[in-house]
């Protein structure tokens, strides 16, 4: 597979905690330079030539390794992938030189309408084949190995006959992509749909998981909503500990996209992930 030619000073994502890059933290990140391992930015926010967002990322990018996380490709869309969108992802990769690039195991458009959301796939052989093919084509075009993330789910398709982890493992096996394990999404889906969260994590191929996300969620009646708007719950930290025990120390992102707190709060959450990573390293030593 062709690869982008890395710049000489391109730094890999270390196996420690990072935080999502938000515009409101630009100045504090530049001025305070907190000791966080890396930052992750939403790819679609950096599609454009100019603007304060792109200039801010360029400044912060000089101080921290970068991961780009896409939310708009809809790689599982049966009507195909928007080649124009894919070309913009490539431009962002060439411009910002991320060490990791990720997207989601979801679909996002049908009948000419883009829903701008991470919509769930049925876990069927046809969906495995389509997602794996389109991930493979995207990887070839981008010249980089993608990490594909499990999405939080509120429904399951009646036609699904695979477990979600079997689906993800099959897609990774066929396309050669890596997996981004979102532990909060596993927890949210397991609570909403009655899945076994531990079986989910234990069912993923260890050699494919390259990054972990943790985030907060909200409760709306009996349903958990993946809103990324609060601290990581104790249940998710427990699941995270289990995931790290299984997969080893991996780059771990604190996702916090709504009700965004002060930078210090995000850094404190990242310390908690680092502590767990440190404990697992200690046990392994």
């Amino acid at each position: 597979m062709p690869r982008l030619e890395p710049r000489g000073d391109l730094r890999p994502i270390p196996a420690c905690a990072g935080i999502g890059f938000r515009a409101v933290h630009q100045q504090a990140l530049a001025a305070e330079r907190p000791a966080i391992g890396w930052i992750e930015a939403h790819t679609e926010n950096y599609f454009h030539d100019g603007g304060p967002a792109a200039r801010g990322l360029e400044r912060v990018r000089a101080n921290y390794p970068l991961s780009l996380h896409g939310v708009g490709l809809g790689l599982g869309s049966a009507e195909g992938v928007d080649r124009g969108h894919l070309a913009k992802v490539k431009r962002a990769i060439v411009r910002f030189e991320p060490a990791l690039v990720s997207e989601h195991a979801c679909w996002g458009h049908a009948g000419g309408e883009v829903f701008n959301g991470l919509l769930p796939l049925p876990y069927t052989d046809e969906a495995v084949e389509l997602l794996a093919r389109q991930v493979g084509e995207a990887q070839d075009f981008l010249g980089i190995r993608l990490l594909i993330e499990n999405v939080s789910a509120y429904v399951t398709f009646e036609h699904s006959h695979l477990q979600e982890w079997e689906f993800l493992a099959a897609v990774a096996g066929i396309s050669g992509c890596g997996l981004l394990l979102d532990v909060n999404n596993v927890y949210v889906s397991s609570q909403n749909l009655g899945l076994d969260a531990l079986a989910f994590i234990d069912g993923l191929p260890p050699d494919r998981v390259g990054e972990i996300h943790v985030a907060g969620h909200a409760r709306n009646g009996s349903v958990l909503i993946d809103d990324h708007g609060s601290q990581v719950s104790e249940a998710v930290w427990q699941l995270y500990r289990h995931a790290v025990s299984r997969f080893g120390a991996l780059p771990t992102l604190i996702e916090w996209d709504t009700n965004i707190p002060a930078l210090g709060t995000l850094v404190a959450e990242s310390r908690r992930a680092d502590l767990i990573l440190g404990e697992v390293r200690g046990l392994a030593a």
Binding site: E44, A110, F115, N192
Partner: protein, 247 residues
């Protein structure tokens, strides 16, 4: 078994219409996706058109947003483009009403949104004109900053925009004369300012690629006006390059 395309088509139909059938469990939870996608669309629209929202109020803006989405659904995975057709939608939707000026206000806010993602090119100084012989000057064409947009309206939209930078601002007298002006990006801010009509005409002509002599003629500038207008485009850093027509 239904194909993947059929399943996604049914899911999409259920996002648009709560009564549509989709083979998922629990079906009631489809409302979460329906709400999430609607909120994402509306939030993006609110972010692009904050002054329109302030003038019409939250409830009516939500109604407008829902009608706009039904007519102009998102076509891109990049949320930036969601508001692209909103000015045209408002023009059509409010045609013949006393609120049609909101379409021009939306046009001004969309210009601001576009400026927010545009490149800022290095500007050239007035002394660039010294590279040309006097006989060449009137044939010069200027390339202006990519972020520059020019907006003209029969309504006082620049005054409305400036007067509604905070919530609950008092309404602006709509019987004020129409206004024209420009929107452009500076390094640390977006600039929205009204312009004197002849300066606006001159800038519009230059922006369209007209030679200097044509821009002067279009704007009806006399010698003093020309000096002021030339001074304006250079001191404001609007000129990225200068070349003679046909070169």
């Amino acid at each position: 078994m239904a194909s993947l395309r059929e399943m996604q088509g049914a899911f999409a139909a259920a996002l648009r219409d709560p009564s549509a059938v989709c083979a998922v469990m629990p079906a009631d939870n489809l409302s979460i996706y329906r709400n999430n996608t609607a909120i994402t669309f509306r939030s993006s629209l609110e972010g692009t058109f904050p002054v329109v929202r302030r003038r019409v109020g939250d409830d009516y803006f939500r109604q407008l947003g829902a009608q706009y989405r039904a007519r102009f659904p998102s076509r891109s995975g990049d949320l930036h483009w969601i508001g692209r057709d909103f000015p045209a939608f408002l023009l059509e939707h409010l045609h013949g009403t006393e609120y049609v000026w909101l379409a021009d206000l939306a046009r001004l806010e969309w210009a601001r949104e576009q400026a927010s993602i545009a490149r800022i090119e290095p500007a050239v100084a007035t002394d660039v004109l010294g590279r040309f012989a006097p006989a060449q000057l009137e044939r010069l064409v200027f390339t202006l900053q990519p972020s520059l947009s020019l907006v003209a309206s029969d309504f006082p939209v620049f005054t409305v925009w400036a007067g509604n930078q905070a919530e609950n601002a008092p309404p602006v007298n709509q019987s004020l004369p129409g206004e024209c002006g420009m929107v452009r990006a500076r390094i640390d801010a977006l600039e929205v300012r009204s312009l004197e009509p002849r300066l606006f005409s001159y800038l519009s002509a230059l922006s369209a690629g007209a030679p200097l002599v044509d821009a002067i003629g279009t704007a009806g500038l006399d010698q003093a006006g020309l000096v002021n207008a030339l001074g304006f485009v250079f001191t404001e850093g609007l000129v990225c390059s200068v070349q003679e027509t046909g070169t």
